[in-house]
């Protein structure tokens, strides 16, 4: 690979990586901080993408659609966690196997429901910034990727500030460290976790809108993103927001380099390969707690 090609691959990879960080922040909260086996996260992303597609039919801009759907997803997240806690966490034994099967089943139901409603064909949206690009010297930067980068930075920075500056945010971090201690301080850990899971699910609306802005979506796309989102969340060092951004960029660059050197058909294996590598070498991730 020539030096020039490598440079272009790295720039494309950084843009792609910010996008991966945006789709993974929710998982960093739900799985990284709360230890919920949220394997349905990518399915919710695809659901968000189809939400943007559906609202796009009424002429709503996909980003605006993502913002509009965020409260809906937030409420859905509250409900899912409440149900999960009541049926699995509070009963204790064997929650691992059954909790996993529960979220796996939910992901599967979302995927099949989308197939039944929208069909298996790829869907895309239209907006002024999709398809255009700006040139910086020799390098062309697609506008849709720049939009993704902007949203990714807003999301990760916003969540980082929220988790470190606000009372509830600190409580969420505390519940991740020691639930009993939080309860002794007079805060209800279950309500805090429910709130955090709502936020995690809420990000899926906006990140899902990004998903369909960046590329056309199909109902089965979630499976591919299981690897990408979990790779980023684990590599980040469960729950760290700057880590999520860094891990996203690492994955983006790795995928972009494989894409240019080996071809597109190998790209899906990169995230999973990297994930296995991280699990084998450093399960605590880059910024592990």
């Amino acid at each position: 690979m020539s030096f020039e090609l490598l440079g272009e691959a790295i720039i494309a990879g950084v843009l792609l990586g910010c996008f991966y960080a945006a789709v993974s922040v929710g998982l960093s909260v739900a799985f990284g901080l709360l230890d919920v086996p949220q394997i349905a996260h990518p399915a919710f992303l695809v659901l968000g993408a189809y939400g943007a597609y559906y609202l796009g039919g009424f002429g709503v801009d996909p980003l605006l659609a993502g913002v509009l759907l965020t409260p809906v997803f937030f409420l859905a997240g509250l409900a899912v966690y409440r149900f999960y806690h009541a049926t699995f966490e509070s009963r204790g034994t064997d929650a691992g196997l059954r909790g996993l099967a529960f979220f796996f089943g939910i992901a599967f139901i979302v995927e099949v429901a989308l197939i039944l409603i929208f069909g298996v064909d790829q869907r895309s949206v239209e907006a002024a910034y999709i398809g255009k690009s700006i040139s910086l010297g020799d390098v062309r930067l697609p506008m849709r990727m720049l939009v993704a980068v902007g949203v990714a930075l807003v999301l990760t920075a916003g969540l980082m500030l929220y988790l470190s500056r606000t009372f509830t945010g600190r409580a969420i971090k505390a519940v991740a460290q020691d639930q009993t201690a939080l309860a002794l301080m007079g805060a209800d850990p279950v309500r805090i976790k429910q709130w955090a899971f709502g936020i995690a699910t809420g990000t899926c609306a906006l990140a899902g809108a990004l998903l369909i802005i960046v590329a056309p979506v199909e109902p089965g796309l979630g499976r591919l993103y299981i690897g990408r989102t979990f790779c980023v969340a684990v590599l980040a060092g469960l729950g760290s927001m700057p880590g999520t951004l860094a891990a996203g960029v690492i994955l983006g660059i790795a995928e972009s380099i494989v894409l240019t050197s080996l071809g597109a058909s190998w790209a899906p294996a990169v995230a999973f390969g990297l994930l296995l590598l991280v699990l084998a070498v450093r399960p605590a991730g880059l910024f592990g707690r």
């Binding site: 394997i39 064997d94 089943g105 939910i106 690897g227 994930l275 296995l276 699990l279 399960p283």
Partner: protein, 316 residues
Amino acid sequence: MGRWTKFIVGAVAVLVVALLLARLVSNEYFFFAGYVVLQFVVLATAWNILGGYAGYVNFGSGAFFAVGAYTAVALIKAFAAPLLLQLAAAVLVSGLMGLAIGAMTLRLRGIFFSIATVAIAVICETAVLNWGFVGGARGATVLQPPAPALFASYARLLFVVMSLLAVLAVALARYIEISWIGRGLRAIRDNEEAAESVGVPTLKLKLFAATASGALMGMAGAPFPLYMSFIEPTSAFSLNYAVSALAMPIIGGTASWAGPVIGAVLLGSAQQIVTVTLSSELNVLVLGVLLVAFVVAAPDGILGLVRRLLGKAGAK
């Protein structure tokens, strides 16, 4: 010996019935549907050895199935290997793959293990997609050999072969369950540290369970190319196998070998009927909804429900 007599009589009866059906039933579709149901019996039983007994949830069953199928395809393409050799090779290759995921349990537990199995599934699929020798993304056509002397069609032979494989798989699962291996695996599921500290050889047992589970899944996949006469990665690695292999034991009941068999026979048959009469998407939706419903409301599956009913009746 006593605890095997009944089982062996039952197993022989199943095989005799399968042979008789292959001679007597005239409708070819029956064998196609029956083959699929039996294949799910093997898959569900295999999943349960690692998932149900030891508590390690495998989301990548489809990959083991497909690796078995593609091992068979590679052998057919290379030197037109006979079915028996295809089966043996598939068992070997997917068993080694099982050993590999068994080794991963050293460091990975719970959701990390499960995600790693998804990772292996996607990596295998990508590799097969890029492997031209077995057809790559376009798929490969496999010609069925002429039907052997005793059978009216090749599908009938495969039906009987799959019956035999199902009986073998269930016998192995039953052996594991009632022997010390099963007790050790259950101890691992309930509390791995405690099991290790009282002297259960946890690593050996996990390696054994993962290898057996993987080998059986590959075995279920080996006759698949001949059965379909055509194979392509998307259908061989279909998510449907992964979900079915997990949903059927959970719905049937993971505690005993009968659970996966009940789940696979009931759901497999229902799937065949729903797919033909309604649509295949609706069929997988029903599977997903049933999985969630059982996990939430009846964690011990159909087996648990039946036992509770019998227990209440006995108490009165």
